[in-house]
């Protein structure tokens, strides 16, 4: 027992000793009913949650199977409370089933069948749910078809998972195949983990499959996973992403790696409003409205597009209005892609309920060790505050302190030194404050990309960077997400959004595309200031993924 790799905690987390010879087999066994929480160097944490158990049971795993697996790998006795929790929680799945109505001519309702009378009473007693349901006998309810997502969401919030047996509707077919050779002539084949991710989402095609979230590190090719799913479903597809540059990247990738023709792929942004069998749009355009109280005119694209598949790129950025519409799109195949399931608004649960639960996750370190993402060294360079700023800093309020520290002018010297240290690397200088970025751009005569830079200009600069004509770019947070700059190997973070873990990870992600040379991520932090504390918080997610920062003190 002593050599078994798994330790099960009373709070339903499981800790995997990754140095155990059986760690791999154990991980494969437990991932079916748990979620990876963090994966530092020695001990990986998995959590058993209600959703992970319901996912497992919906995929056919029984409580006994789960218990057997735990007993097989557990180093110590399984805490009683965990046994109780698994039985009680997993046992709930299947007690509430959503199906098509008995009357095939009823096209406006679905049927909700509750097999345990106590649950039926509890559901009726909840106003929030009662108003969405019409009793249809003692243990069945009717619901309007468009309320499918909302009912599921409310029930999940109450602790009742819905076994949704209504098959997803297949949209209009759009034949699509991945090419074996890209447009540029390179051979191309999705990697194993990308195929596994697509398998995990599509499953056996039966009820309870075809929707969910895939979590993969930045630079590991989430776009390829999206395209693999597109090719398997071969249907009208809407891809939602964070900005126009990312829209362009998606379109370029689709054209490069699929057999879809150019006129089958459209761009729906502020600039263009094309609706094609494959349409790529931004969250921004969907949630645009002429005035604060008005409707969102472009949300119709989502609802009325008769899509067979919706891909939510960077799903952790999904805006609230899109959530609302997503609740109405429960019959559509949908996939969320992200590197960090950390939402600053804490709405991860809604992502799980509406887009779908996490179907695939893999530790960053594992992909790094296999060479699928670049090996990255993280550095934190601590810089003293100039003497003339010490008193203004001491007298400032908390927010001002952070800004003074972030804009520490000595960071300019460090940037210069880093440029000198990496004469051949492609470098991104990333920051939070536009003034500071402008100073850097001015000081080193570098191009700057911010929110106000036109899309055309951005495309041009990114393109110059990609084709090697521009070695260093200064960028604001607009480049945090979804920008693919394959050759970038050095990122210098000169300031950030306070303690945002997600931002730190995304910024590191800009330099994780596998390449010949290893990558370096530098975070410049003012010594003995609040920036140190925020930096420590920012680094947490990456530390939990096994990255560690090498601290250098600038003298």
């Amino acid at each position: 027992m002593g050599d078994r790799p798994l330790i099960i905690q009373s709070d339903h987390t499981m800790l995997l000793d990754v140095h155990s010879p059986d760690a791999g087999s154990c991980r494969d066994d437990i991932i079916a009913f748990s979620e990876l929480v963090k994966s530092p160097e020695h001990v990986h944490t998995f959590a058993i949650s209600a959703l992970s158990l319901w996912n497992a049971t919906s995929a056919g795993l029984s409580v006994a199977d789960i218990e057997t697996r735990l007993q097989r790998w557990s180093r110590f006795d399984i805490p009683e409370s965990v046994g109780f929790y698994i039985k009680e929680t997993a046992g709930r799945f299947g007690t509430i089933v959503m199906t098509l109505p008995i009357d095939p001519s009823d096209e406006s309702h679905y049927l909700l069948k509750v097999t345990i009378p106590r649950y039926a009473k509890e559901i009726q007693a909840r106003n929030q749910l009662a108003k969405l349901l019409t009793a249809n006998g003692d243990d069945t309810f009717l619901l309007d078809r468009y309320q499918r997502g909302e009912v599921k969401l409310q029930l999940v919030k109450l602790g009742f998972p819905v076994d949704d047996r209504i098959p997803l509707t297949h949209g209009e077919p759009v034949p699509c195949r991945l090419k074996e050779r890209t447009g540029t002539g390179k051979s191309f084949k999705p990697r194993d983990y990308q195929l596994l991710a697509a398998d995990a989402l599509i499953g056996d095609g039966g009820p309870g499959t075809g929707y969910g979230t895939i979590v993969l590190p930045c630079g590991s090719g989430k776009t390829i996973v999206g395209m693999e799913i597109m090719s398997r479903l071969s249907t009208r597809t809407l891809i939602l992403t964070t900005n126009v540059a990312a829209v362009h990247q998606w379109i370029a990738e689709i054209r490069d790696k699929t057999d879809l023709s150019a006129d089958q792929v459209g761009e729906y942004t502020g600039e263009k409003k094309e609706i094609k069998p494959i349409t790529v749009c931004t969250y921004q355009v969907l949630t645009w409205r002429p005035d604060k109280e008005g409707d969102f005119p472009h949300l119709r694209l989502l609802k009325d597009g008769n899509w067979g598949l919706i891909i939510y790129d960077e799903v952790h950025m999904l805006p609230a209005p899109v959530f609302k519409v997503t609740a109405e799109l429960q019959a559509v195949f949908r996939v969320g892609l992200t590197a960090t399931l950390i939402r600053e608004d804490g709405r991860e649960d809604e992502v799980f309920s509406l887009v779908g639960p996490k179907r695939f996750d893999v530790p960053w370190g594992e992909l790094e060790s296999k060479g699928w993402i670049a090996e990255a060294s993280c550095h934190e360079i601590r810089i003293p505050l100039p003497a003339e700023l010490e008193i203004p800093y001491a007298l400032a309020n908390k927010r001002e302190k952070y800004r003074i520290a972030s804009e520490n002018p000595l960071k300019m010297d460090v940037i210069r030194e880093l440029f000198r240290r990496h004469p051949d690397d492609f470098i991104l200088v990333i920051g939070q404050y536009i003034d500071q970025l402008q100073q850097v751009a001015k000081e080193f005569k570098l191009p700057l990309i911010t929110g106000t830079t036109s899309n055309a200009k951005r495309d041009e600069l990114f393109s110059r960077f990609r084709n090697g004509k521009q070695r260093i770019l200064v960028v604001s947070k607009v480049a945090n997400f979804a920008i693919d700059l394959p050759d970038a190997s050095v990122a210098i973070q000169i300031s950030g959004t306070f303690g945002s873990r997600q931002e730190e990870a995304q910024r590191l992600g800009r330099i994780l595309r596998p390449k010949e040379r290893s990558s370096n991520f530098y975070s410049l932090v003012t010594r003995y200031s609040t920036e140190e504390e925020f930096a420590a918080n920012r680094q947490k997610f990456l530390a939990e993924q096994g990255y560690s920062y090498h601290i250098e003190v600038w003298r």
Binding site: I7, P40, E41, P79, S81, I391, A394, R527, Y528, I551
Partner: protein
């Protein structure tokens, strides 16, 4: 053989404690008439043989009914209780008179004898010649504690306070999270993060448990509250505490909790001896309660009463309530419910297991220091650092105490470690030595940075501040700091205002010294007479001295209380066996026939019948003509002379009582009276002054109003019963 010899010697010493009158009563009852001249050693030897005889023993045991068994078990557990302890224990189960009669009957049957080691007190003990046999055949916890069925709803068993929970709790103190403000403390412990940290403890028990833990650790001088409300730990005591195994920790906390309760109830109790008694009581409790199926509150009270008596502690309902609370809060006992109904209490499964497991079952493992600065381990850390101390509770911040315990090394936790006097080398050395893998470079670098920041300012004596160049610049130029600087002693050395320490500390922190250290030699200035906090501090120190109890002292003077023996060293071998219901033994027919053959009449017949019904006759040889009692045993109705004679014969005899039936306020009453004086006797009436038992109220009753008088024994133990136990009787009433 030695045991037998020892038992015989004890028995003979016990016999020697009877008055001649009672001694000869016993001898005549068992051996028949004895002639003069008496030779007591011979008689004693004959009586000894009678009680060693197998057949006789068998018959003695056969005559023990369920009620006798219950009383005898209680006496066995209490070791040498006074008669009043027994009366007190069973007062709710029997009318006083009946109980009194039963106890005297057990004395007459020589099942209970005067305890040899409690001179001057009417203490009894179980007949040593029979004790082993009774232990096997008669003594039963079930008979005494009304054991319930053990088929109860199964719930997760509450967690005990283990070494790991203690480490986590001490860490909360080190991190400054524990306050002596009850409201703040309750809020902290009721918070969700606390549930996450201690997931094995049921959420509703967390606040109670940790408040109790703080009080106990303060009581044991492991933790001290300073006058400013901060709590600090004593490193030596913590080290000792964390080296105890889980069983010893449980015993220590339980004993300390009991000691506090007894101390609160009885302010002048000597702490050291009270701790010793409470420790023994705790061990006894665990041994007995462990053997019991779920038991009721009444049984709990009875158990505690017995154990308090056994260990020389006073007992009260408040003390029993306090003990119960401690047992529940510490997770040693829990409520039992059956279909939601409260069915009583039982020792928790975790406590049961703890006292069954071997010490070496507590596995130890090295620390794992991970790249995200978490430090984890499973099992025990006891003795796992060789000779070095366990420093984890000083270095990290507790994140989770569970199967795997996790701490995180943070900037603030590192500062606290430095404040406790650890050096960078000690911390890094400890982590290096205790961990299974190489320390993450990142962590070592960060600790180096924190160490440098910590040393940018030193504060001596709460007023002298020495800084590095950067902080000197800041202090010199910071306008808001200037009012607090009393004097610039030299470059980088300042005298600050002590009164405003909190304010200038805050300013220094926000100016870029967030690793501001604790004052060096803080304790020294606190003892100076002019310090504002002096009086409170002295008071606190006095209290500590007054308590006279500390973990270190316990470890030095009473290590046996912490030895955490696997089976508690109680000397009990009782189980919760169920006895067969008592049935009348066949040999009584033989005795009855012998009595018939004697053709007795009148008082002789009455007396023989009384001996027979009282189970004093075991063999036909005892059935001979002889008068053992003097005078009439009872008189009633118009037999005024008989009633008067009975009263007269009982006056002044402390070992006799009268059971009197009278009409009192138009109600028929039976009262037990110890006759003191017969006044104004005439041929028509007389007044009897006596003490009513058990209220000890003095009453004078006309003999003519008594329509029944029975004379019976109060005790066989001698004449000092009443006076010695006057107070006890008052407590019963």
């Amino acid at each position: 053989m030695n045991n037998d010899r020892e038992a015989i010697a004890r028995w003979q010493r016990m016999l020697a404690r009877y008055s001649d009158e009672n001694y000869f009563f016993l001898v005549r009852n068992y051996l028949g008439p004895v002639g003069t001249p008496f030779h007591k050693p011979t008689l004693t030897a004959r009586l000894t043989n009678f009680f060693l005889n197998d057949l006789n023993q068998e018959r003695i045991v056969a005559l023990i009914d369920d009620d006798d068994a219950m009383i005898l078990t209680a006496v066995h557990l209490m070791r040498t209780p006074c008669e009043n302890d027994i009366l007190d224990l069973f007062r709710d189960d029997y009318p006083y008179a009946e109980l009194q009669r039963r106890i005297v009957n057990l004395e007459e049957r020589l099942l209970l004898l005067p305890a040899e080691d409690r001179k001057g007190l009417s203490a009894v003990a179980v007949n040593p010649l029979l004790e082993t046999r009774l232990e096997k055949e008669i003594f039963s916890l079930t008979s005494l504690f009304c054991g319930e069925s053990s088929d109860r709803e199964r719930h997760p068993s509450p967690a005990l306070v283990t070494e790991n929970i203690l480490r986590g709790y001490l860490n909360l103190i080190v991190q400054g999270q524990v306050s002596d403000s009850a409201a703040m403390e309750a809020r902290l412990y009721a918070s969700a993060p606390m549930e996450g940290m201690f997931p094995t403890i049921e959420p509703d028990r967390v606040p109670k448990l940790f408040v109790m833990l703080r009080k106990l650790l303060e009581f044991l001088q492991v933790v001290a509250a300073s006058p400013d409300g901060r709590h600090t730990v004593s490193r030596r005591s913590c080290d000792a505490l964390l080296n105890l195994n889980d069983r010893a920790v449980t015993l220590l906390l339980l004993s300390a909790a009991f000691t506090r309760i007894v101390r609160n109830a009885n302010g002048n109790a000597d702490l050291t001896s009270t701790y010793g008694s409470c420790g023994r009581l705790a061990v006894d409790f665990l041994a007995l309660a462990n053997a019991l199926p779920p038991f009721s509150r009444k049984s709990y009270d009875r158990l505690m009463r017995i154990l308090a008596r056994r260990n020389g502690l006073s007992f009260s309902v408040e003390i029993a309530d306090g003990f119960l609370d401690a047992l529940l809060v510490l997770g040693i006992m829990d409520n039992v419910s059956d279909s939601g109904a409260d069915m009583g209490y039982q020792v928790t499964e975790t406590a049961r297991r703890l006292f069954l497991q071997n010490d070496d079952e507590q596995l130890t493992s090295p620390l794992t220091v991970d790249s995200d600065c978490t430090v984890s381990y499973s099992g025990s850390r006891r003795n796992s650092c060789g000779t070095s101390e366990d420093l984890l509770y000083l270095i990290g911040e507790v994140r989770q105490v569970d199967v795997l315990c996790r701490y995180e090394i943070t900037r603030q936790s590192f500062r606290h470690a430095l404040d406790y006097g650890l050096s960078f080398e000690e911390i890094a050395g400890y982590l290096e030595k205790a961990s299974a893998n190489r320390l993450p470079t990142h962590l070592v670098q960060m600790m180096g940075e924190w160490y440098a920041a910590y040393h940018s300012v030193r504060i001596y004596d709460g007023i002298v501040v020495c800084c590095d160049t950067r902080m000197t610049r800041i202090i010199d130029q910071h306008p808001q700091l200037q009012p607090y600087i009393v004097q610039r002693i030299q470059e980088g050395v300042y005298l600050f205002s002590r009164r405003e320490e909190a304010r200038w500390r805050l300013l220094l922190q926000t100016a870029g010294a967030d690793m501001l250290p604790k004052t060096i030699q803080e304790e020294m200035w606190r003892t100076r007479p002019n310090a504002a906090r002096l009086s409170a501090n002295v008071r606190q120190q006095d209290e500590i001295e007054e308590t006279g109890l500390s973990l270190l002292m316990i470890m030095e003077q009473a290590p046996q209380t912490l030895n955490g023996t696997r089976a508690p060293a109680s000397g009990f071998s009782l189980t919760a066996k169920r006895l067969e219901p008592w049935t009348r033994p066949r040999f009584l027919e033989e005795i009855a026939q012998a009595i018939d053959r004697l053709h007795l009449d009148g008082t002789d017949a009455e007396e023989m019948d009384s001996r027979f019904r009282s189970s004093l006759l075991l063999v036909p040889q005892q059935v001979v003509r002889q008068r053992l009692y003097t005078g009439l045993l009872s008189a009633s109705g118009f037999d005024f002379r008989g009633k008067l004679n009975l009263c007269k014969s009982a006056v002044g005899k402390d070992d006799m009582i009268l059971e009197v039936r009278i009409y009192d306020n138009d109600e028929e009453k039976n009262i037990l009276l110890q006759a003191k004086e017969l006044m104004y006797p005439t041929s028509q009436d007389a007044m009897l002054r006596g003490i009513v038992l058990p209220t000890m109220e003095e009453r004078t009753i006309p003999v003519s109003r008594m329509f029944l008088v029975k004379r019976q024994r109060l005790s066989l133990l001698g004449g000092h019963y009443c006076e010695e136990n006057r107070n006890l009787h008052h407590s019963i009433s």
